[in-house]
């Protein structure tokens, strides 16, 4: 995909996630919006996948450890054709294949069940270790939240991934600087995460997490070295691109009205139209 196509894809991911959550008028909007551009970069070319064969052995794996942001992942999967796009409106409804938190046994294309923060770190490392041991050429991608980095298990994994030289692990931190109760710096400051992971022996970068090209470039750069795990800290904004969530203090989990949804959806439509005009 071109940069413009990736940007349009990211806006469509936001639109689709919001559409899914709008049925119940509530959900984890903040973190889903802040990682939408990452989902676009991954499913727009950086990650090998086959929507018709989600369990394809040659695929790259993705563990979304901040499992509450399932809706952004589901939107990307729906748009790529892993399941019918209209299924997105079943999010969190009885019997759905799209629960609030990611579930590998329910959703086509979801590689790991997550939801208790910190645990996706270890399962992703286990996946990466399994591929390394079996000499598969799959990459394992991992998405952590910055608030999630307050969990001790993240740092157990940070030590262990370096010890095991998991060079085909490419992790991201959605550094939106916020957690449920406010700013991470005010609750339990996680500090300079790029520096911390570098200190733990990882190859570490920090980039604009809303720049799809920068994300793909950072992934390409990470792939140039295979002797240690990779961390890409994504500077993001919680609620990014959603008119009723961006800039709102409490935007981790939001209840919203049909009118708010329609305004947000219309704003994303305008963004897409602008991008399409620029592209032509």
């Amino acid at each position: 995909m071109t940069t413009k196509e990736l940007q349009i894809f990211a806006a469509q991911i936001r639109k689709t996630a919001l559409k899914g959550l709008s049925v119940l008028g509530a959900g984890h909007i903040g973190g889903s919006m802040s990682m939408a551009d990452l989902m676009a970069a991954l499913y727009g070319g950086a990650m090998r996948h086959d929507p018709k064969n989600p369990a394809w052995e040659g695929r790259d794996w993705l563990v979304v450890s901040k499992g509450h942001c399932g809706p952004a992942l589901y939107a990307a999967l729906a748009l790529r054709g892993f399941f019918p796009e209209e299924e997105i409106t079943t999010i969190n409804q009885p019997g759905t294949r799209l629960p609030s938190h990611c579930d590998r046994n329910l959703t086509p294309g979801v590689d790991m069940s997550t939801g208790s923060l910190g645990q996706g770190m270890s399962t992703a490392l286990g996946v990466a270790w399994g591929h390394q041991y079996q000499k598969h050429d799959s990459y394992t991608f991992l998405v952590l939240g910055d608030g999630e980095c307050e969990e001790g298990q993240v740092w157990e994994g940070a030590l262990w991934a370096h010890q095991q030289k998991l060079g085909r692990l490419i992790a991201f931190i959605d550094r939106n600087e916020k957690q449920l109760d406010g700013y991470t710096r005010d609750v339990c400051d996680v500090g300079d995460l790029r520096q911390k992971f570098e200190d733990f022996g990882w190859d570490a970068q920090e980039i604009d997490g809303h720049d799809v090209t920068a994300i793909q470039d950072a992934i390409a750069k990470a792939k140039q070295t295979e002797d240690r795990p990779h961390m890409i800290v994504l500077k993001t904004e919680k609620g990014k691109g959603c008119t009723f969530a961006e800039g709102v203090f409490y935007n981790h989990h939001i209840k919203f009205s049909t009118e708010q949804y329609q305004q947000a959806d219309a704003a994303l439509d305008r963004q897409i139209e602008t991008l399409q005009r620029e592209e032509v």
């Binding site: 590998r104 490392l125 286990g126 591929h131 079996q134 157990e156």
Partner: protein, 321 residues
Amino acid sequence: MYQTEKVLAEEAKEMRAVFAEIMEELVQQDRRVVYLDADIINSIGMTAFWKKHPDRTINCGIQEANMIGAAAGMSATGLIPFAHTFGPFATRRVMDQVFLSAAYAKLNVRIIGSDPGVTASTNGGTHMPFEDMGMMRCIPGVTVLEPADSVMLADLLRQTKDLYGVFYIRLSRKKAEKIYTDGSTFSIGKAAKLREGSDVTIFATGISVADSLRAAELLEQDGIHAAVSNLFTIKPIDQDAVAEAARSTGAIVTAENHSILNGLGSAVAEVLAETVCCPLERVGVQDRFGEVGDVNYLKKALHLTAEDIAAAAKRAVARKG
């Protein structure tokens, strides 16, 4: 099929030595088998294995939560992980990781928790799990096993390699008393009956099996004919064996090196309440913490001896209508 020894005697080998032998056998058989530990490889006697198979042995360091999650992730790629640490750290320390990363995710992990209950001995109350089986038992789909001797341990390890799911295997490291003849095999989920009897049935697990056989001898002297059955699968519990024992003997005793809450005694009580009611006496740890001491001292202090089991059997028999 299993056969029992005629006379109780200490085994020639420690349980951990047999554990290491079987792990060696399994890695030779199957390239997918890997072994994880959290810095107590030396304690479980796996140092030689680690040196021989450095690519198959993952010493995670002192980080049990990461070890369980990593084992779950490895299994998602087709590997067959066996993860070991001391019982308290293999269960209560990693309850949420076993729950979500392994069981909820429907992945394929064998967790070995060593030094169950009083066998933690001088490591004391902090390291003395009386709650581990209970915690694992309440996670959906987890199979909970406690081998009584090294013959049973070997068979259960071999079987779990080719089964799918989350298994918790409770393992005493030291020498057990030999219950079964070499080469015996067992059915997971089915009780192994050791002794016939008409007045009361003693269901036992782990180190309490040998004490239950001794208790049956004591009871025989008083004219009470006690059946003894090894309920080594705490989950799924053998409902048929429990109901049949209630019908045929009309009184039941459970004996376990574990809390009477949520372990074997609770599992048997649940079955009795829902099938055939009869008097039940539970021998086990009475809702208290452990302490330091040798195993014989601790068994006496916590009322887990053969005499305690025999006394419980008499109470159960006396309560029969």
